[in-house]
């Protein structure tokens, strides 16, 4: 670990004012501190934002929820409004990490979570376009079982690791950002970037900008939503494939659908392709299978992750069937 300075601030203005271009805000630290120990993150200064008044979960005027960026993952998962109106988010949060990690991890930090790609984590590999732009990608010819199959490029195939973000992508959340020049909002699905030829540029957040809150829109049918996660063990493990689904079915017909996938994309993967198949069709296994095919249509696999499209399809199928209270 390299030496760094550490300051503690009490309000957002002070945090933004203090932040140099390479500095990092510290929330729960569950990802950032690991990366600093590995020498991947090397911020000259850490700005502790845990005292900032961003701990609230409040109803918005339009009936949605505004979630402060410092709300802990555990608190959000068990928040009565989330449990009741956005079960997919509660389920996704509880599918992530372990209780100890969820007690520390914040919403803002979860959104800024970085990939678990082992070649990104281990600085003894010279090639990682995320760490060192232009250096190449050791994962493409390496051990890539956990790597992405959607949104990849020849420069990076790293998977976005978050469960929470997959649910938020499905729910069409809005990210509130504050910077030196004021506040702005960004739709969740625009916030994370696919790697393209700039894998090091992962989000739209500019240096010095701070995520202050996430807003969930009012979705009257979001109570019928599910998160399914497939992984190599039953807890404390990242997804091989995950699916967040919100489905509005009336008289057997799908009126609205929100679909996002985890564990397979380079970003939290909202699948408009699957949604297009679903909306207007009858809610049955055949439709769901077609939607799953559509969601994985552009999948690109590598040597060790060839199973992922099929597994992701089945995971999505499982989540869709669960919205029908089927015995699955």
């Amino acid at each position: 670990m390299l030496p760094f300075s550490f300051i503690h601030v009490n309000d957002a203005d002070a945090a933004i004012h203090a932040a140099g271009p390479l500095d990092k805000f510290l929330g729960g630290g569950t990802n950032l501190i690991d990366l600093m120990k590995q020498g991947v993150e090397r911020p000259p200064k850490l700005i502790d934002i845990n005292s900032l008044p961003m701990q609230q979960v409040e109803k918005t005027e339009s009936g949605g929820l505004r979630i402060g960026a410092n709300v802990r993952n555990s608190d959000l998962a068990y928040h009565p409004e989330v449990v009741r109106h956005y079960p997919v988010l509660s389920q996704a949060l509880l599918a992530g990490a372990s209780p100890q990690l969820r007690n520390m991890a914040t919403v803002g930090g979860n959104i800024m979570q970085r990939t678990r790609c082992p070649y990104f984590f281990d600085i003894s590999y010279a090639s990682c376009n995320k760490r060192t732009p232009g250096s190449g990608c050791a994962a493409i010819n390496g051990y890539n079982r956990n790597h992405a199959v959607l949104g990849t490029s020849e420069h990076c195939i790293a998977t976005h690791p978050s469960d929470m973000c997959v649910a938020m992508a499905a729910l069409g959340a809005i990210i509130h950002i504050q910077g030196a020049s004021g506040v702005r909002t960004v739709p969740f699905n625009d916030f994370h970037l696919v790697p393209g030829d700039m894998p090091h540029k992962e989000t739209l957040l500019l240096p010095g900008e701070l995520i202050t809150a996430v807003e969930l829109p009012f979705i009257p049918f979001a109570e019928n939503s599910h998160y399914v996660k497939v992984r190599d063990r039953n807890s404390y493990e990242f997804a091989l494939a995950a699916a967040a689904v919100v489905l509005h079915v009336q008289d057997g017909k799908i009126e609205a659908a929100r679909i996002a996938l985890g564990g397979v994309g380079t970003k939290p993967w909202r699948s408009e392709e699957a949604e297009e198949v679903l909306v207007g069709a009858n809610a049955n296994e055949k439709t769901f299978a077609k939607a799953a095919d559509a969601a994985l249509k552009g999948a690109v696999t590598h040597k060790f992750n060839a199973f992922k499209p099929e597994l992701a399809k089945r995971t999505l199928m499982k989540a869709l069937l669960q919205t029908q209270n089927a015995m699955v």
Binding site: M1, L2, P3, G39, S98, R116, P118, Y119, D122, S124, Y125, A138, N141, G142, Y143, R145, V228, V230, R231, D232, R233, N234, S235, Y236, E237, L240, A241, F307, K308, E310, L311, R314, T315, M317, K318, L321, M327, V328
Partner: protein, 766 residues
């Protein structure tokens, strides 16, 4: 008799552990202590062409940076006494003296140790050491090295290739055959406590705190490599946070700590971090096992073939003896078991909980299940059809074997009779349900050991042997044995172990501690008791004066007349009256259940009747093994293939149970180890660099609570009349054997899909 043996006595060190008072090797405060952090190679094959330590040396707090250029020279060890005798040195990497030259044999080999005043300073400076390499093309896969596979004759002095009868005739006579290949991956031990060594030079003496399963082996390792007499090395290992075999051999970080302490002229502590635990302290070898079975229509085996190929490093010939169990599990006249190895440019494998048996029983017990399916025969019935009370390879009866009882108890407890034999036929709600079973077996090892037991004037007593407690409960069962032998309450006894200055004991491996050290402790306790009785009956003022030894019983620390229990006196009264600071009994039991080690005369003059009786047992007539059975119920999601183990019933015949509580824990722990092996554990290497990819507990998966089902453990509990006077066999490893196969067999039953390549992850069930 047997008031304490077998009782579910709480761990005597439990309070120390949960209150943080138990000191592990890294936790000893040594005056002037400095911190050593190792730098490792990032290539797998080649040599160092330049190593620049100048920046590291100038970093704050750095005392010295040790590389092959300035490291103290080590002595090539001679033909060290091998085997399992106390003090036998086992180098983890026999052909690699650490940091003596520029050659690199695997990724993660130590190339420098940075010593600094604080741990943080050492870590920081270690990152400043720059190494340039000349890289050669490495070889990582058995499949790419078929021309380099060879057949070693022996493994640690024991034959390793087996042929009996006529294999091809047996296969030819079979009505039904199967011939399949099973693969087990590299697995890492990952004890909670990482390796740790504190090395302190006191003049020409070396004082060591080392997380080792073998204090005498470690003492010999330090002495041999440093070229000094063993008497000048003192090794202490009071508590271990697990080992599972990775702390059995002598690994380079230990000697590096002593070398760095010499160079720094200060005591040095080296603790491996979790990533380093994946590169230079051993792992379970990857194996490729071909198993062919032939049977007649009634399921009687006519032929067994089990050919194992496992990988080792360039610097050590480690053989994973996967086929050993196959030679003795079932009656079969025609058999071929071979072991083949190949040297790759990867780090060195070692013993890992049931080395050989864990990987081997996955293959043979999966194959038996496949054979049962093909014969349309119940898997338990197939095993019963081939049951043997005689070790068919050695042609000797087992010392005691109650495996039939294990099968029937396990079948009853899991509800085997309700199992529909057709695969993928059973459901519970959304789940596919599967039941599977397999046989467990592990050798009942016993090695020579010595012990001392002392009685003090305050009525307390101590027992002592240099053996280790790797977390299994050795402190507790040795305290029980001492108390029982002396006839005093458990609370009055404490046991000392984990110190090379104490009486000799073997390494804590091969499930041998209880059966090796236990009899020595018992005999030493009986010796002390006898000495006390003799003193009392010869003492004119004693109420027992003039009685004979056989007339005396001891309970609650009080000797009394068998005929009149009002006549008696306590040990405390006797010792106080005689103004004795203590009374000491001792014993050395020179017994081994390993054939090649039989009949070594006990050089110690032995007047101890307990030892004489123990050593007089004709052990070479018997084969010593424990057996058991695992019965497993699994649930599998039919859509995406995630497996959940719902229940494991483990029934074990381990002879006398020494402590019901610690014994159950050992079997449960062993079975949980096998859940990891069956469903998730796999060390992955980068195919280009050969570097471990899964070098953390977030990336290398072991079972968490959510993976662990309802578990039931039963013991047959009948004493083995030949293993020891107490009748108990070791149990540290048998719980891991067979269980992975039982899970795999249950997954097959649930899904109809046979996975022969561990671990069984969801992608393999698509």
């Amino acid at each position: 008799m047997n008031e304490l043996i077998g009782k579910p006595v709480d761990r005597v060190d439990g309070r120390l552990k949960v209150t943080g008072q138990a000191k592990y090797s890294a936790e000893f405060g040594v005056k002037g202590l400095t911190y050593g952090v190792a730098v490792q190679s990032t290539i797998s094959k080649g040599n160092i062409i330049r190593i620049d330590t100048s920046k590291a040396e100038m970093a704050p707090g750095v005392i010295t940076v040790m590389t092959y250029k300035n490291a103290p020279r080590l002595k090539q060890p001679g033909a060290a006494p091998g085997g399992n005798k106390p003090g036998a040195v086992m180098l983890g990497e026999k052909n690699l003296l650490p940091m003596q030259d520029e050659n690199i044999h695997y990724n993660g080999q130590y190339v420098a140790v940075v010593v600094a005043g604080t741990f943080e300073q050492a870590v920081y400076a270690a990152g400043l050491v720059k190494v340039s390499y000349q890289e050669e093309k490495p070889l990582f896969e058995i499949e790419h090295a078929s021309d380099k596979i060879y057949q070693p004759k022996q493994n640690m002095g024991q034959d390793i290739q087996f042929h009996r009868g006529d294999l091809s005739a047996g296969m030819g006579a079979a009505a039904v055959t199967i011939d399949e290949t099973y693969i087990t991956p590299v697995e890492h031990h990952n004890p909670m406590e990482p390796h740790a060594t504190i090395a302190e030079w006191k003049g020409d003496h070396l004082e060591i705190h080392d997380a080792t399963q073998n204090v005498l082996g470690a003492r010999g390792g330090f002495a041999q490599l440093l070229g000094m007499p063993e008497e000048k090395v003192h090794v202490i290992s009071l508590f271990l946070g697990g080992g599972f075999g990775c702390k059995g051999a002598f690994w380079p970080h230990s000697i590096l700590a002593a070398m760095a302490a010499k160079l720094a002229k200060r005591p040095v502590k080296v603790v491996l971090d979790r990533q380093q635990m994946f590169s230079s302290n051993g792992h379970r070898s990857r194996t490729i096992q071909r198993v062919a079975l032939g049977a007649d229509n009634e399921g009687h085996l006519t032929a067994i073939r089990h050919d194992t190929t496992s990988e080792t490093s360039q610097v050590h010939e480690f053989i994973e003896p996967s086929g050993l169990a196959t030679t003795l599990l079932y009656a079969c006249p025609n058999l071929q078991v071979t072991h083949n190895i190949v040297k790759l440019d990867k780090s060195t494998p070692t013993f890992m909980r049931a080395p050989g048996e864990a990987s081997g029983t996955f293959a043979i017990e999966s194959a038996m299940d496949e054979l049962a399916c093909k014969l349309k025969m119940d898997p338990v019935s197939l095993r019963m059809a081939n049951y043997t009370d005689i070790d068919p390879q050695k042609n000797k009866p087992f010392s005691s074997k109650y495996l039939k009882e294990c099968y029937s108890k396990g079948a009853e407890a899991i509800g085997w009779s309700q199992r529909n034999a057709t695969p993928r036929s059973m459901r519970e709600g959304k789940w596919l349900v599967g039941y599977g079973m397999a046989t467990a077996t592990y050798p009942a090892n016993r090695s020579p050991a010595s012990a001392k037991v002392r009685i003090y004037p305050d009525g307390k007593a101590t027992g002592a042997c240099c053996t280790q407690d790797i977390g299994t409960g050795t402190y507790t069962i040795m305290t029980q044995i001492t108390a029982e032998a002396l006839g005093i309450p458990l609370e009055k006894v404490s046991f000392k172990l984990g110190d090379s200055a104490l009486p000799k004991g073997p390494g804590s491996g091969g499930s041998q501690s209880a059966a090796s050290v236990g009899p020595a402790v018992r005999a030493a306790g009986l010796d002390a008791k006898s000495k006390a009785i003799h003193l009392s009956i010869a003492d004119r003022v004693s109420p027992l004066y003039g009685l004979s030894e056989t007339d005396i019983l001891v309970e609650e620390g009080r000797m009394f007349s068998r005929q009149d229990n009002s006549k008696g006196e306590s040990y405390a009264a006797l010792l106080s009256r005689h103004k004795l600071p203590m009374l000491e009994g001792e014993a050395t039991t020179n017994v081994s259940t390993r054939e090649s080690k039989q009949k070594e005369p006990n050089k110690a003059v032995n007047s101890n009747p307990a030892v004489q009786e123990d050593e007089a047992v004709q052990r070479d007539k018997y084969a010593f093994h424990s057996f058991g059975a695992h019965f497993v119920k699994v649930l599998v999601d039919p859509v995406h293939g995630m497996v959940r183990v719902a229940k494991i019933v483990s029934v074990m015949d381990i002879g006398t149970v020494l402590n019901q509580k610690t014994a159950e824990s050992q079997i449960m722990g062993g079975a949980i180890f096998a859940i990891g092996m069956a469903l998730m554990e796999e060390t992955q290497y980068d195919p280009v660099k050969g570097r471990v990819i899964t070098a953390s507990l977030a990336d290398y998966l072991v079972p968490v609570h959510a993976d662990i089902p309802e578990m039931e453990v039963h013991f047959v509990g009948k004493p083995d009349p030949y293993i020891t006077p107490i009748g108990g066999r070791g149990i540290g490893e048998i719980g891991t054997t067979g269980a992975a196969a039982a899970i795999a067999n249950a997954v097959f039953h649930a899904t109809g899909k046979r996975v022969r390549n561990l671990p069984i992850t969801p992608d393999k069930l698509l």
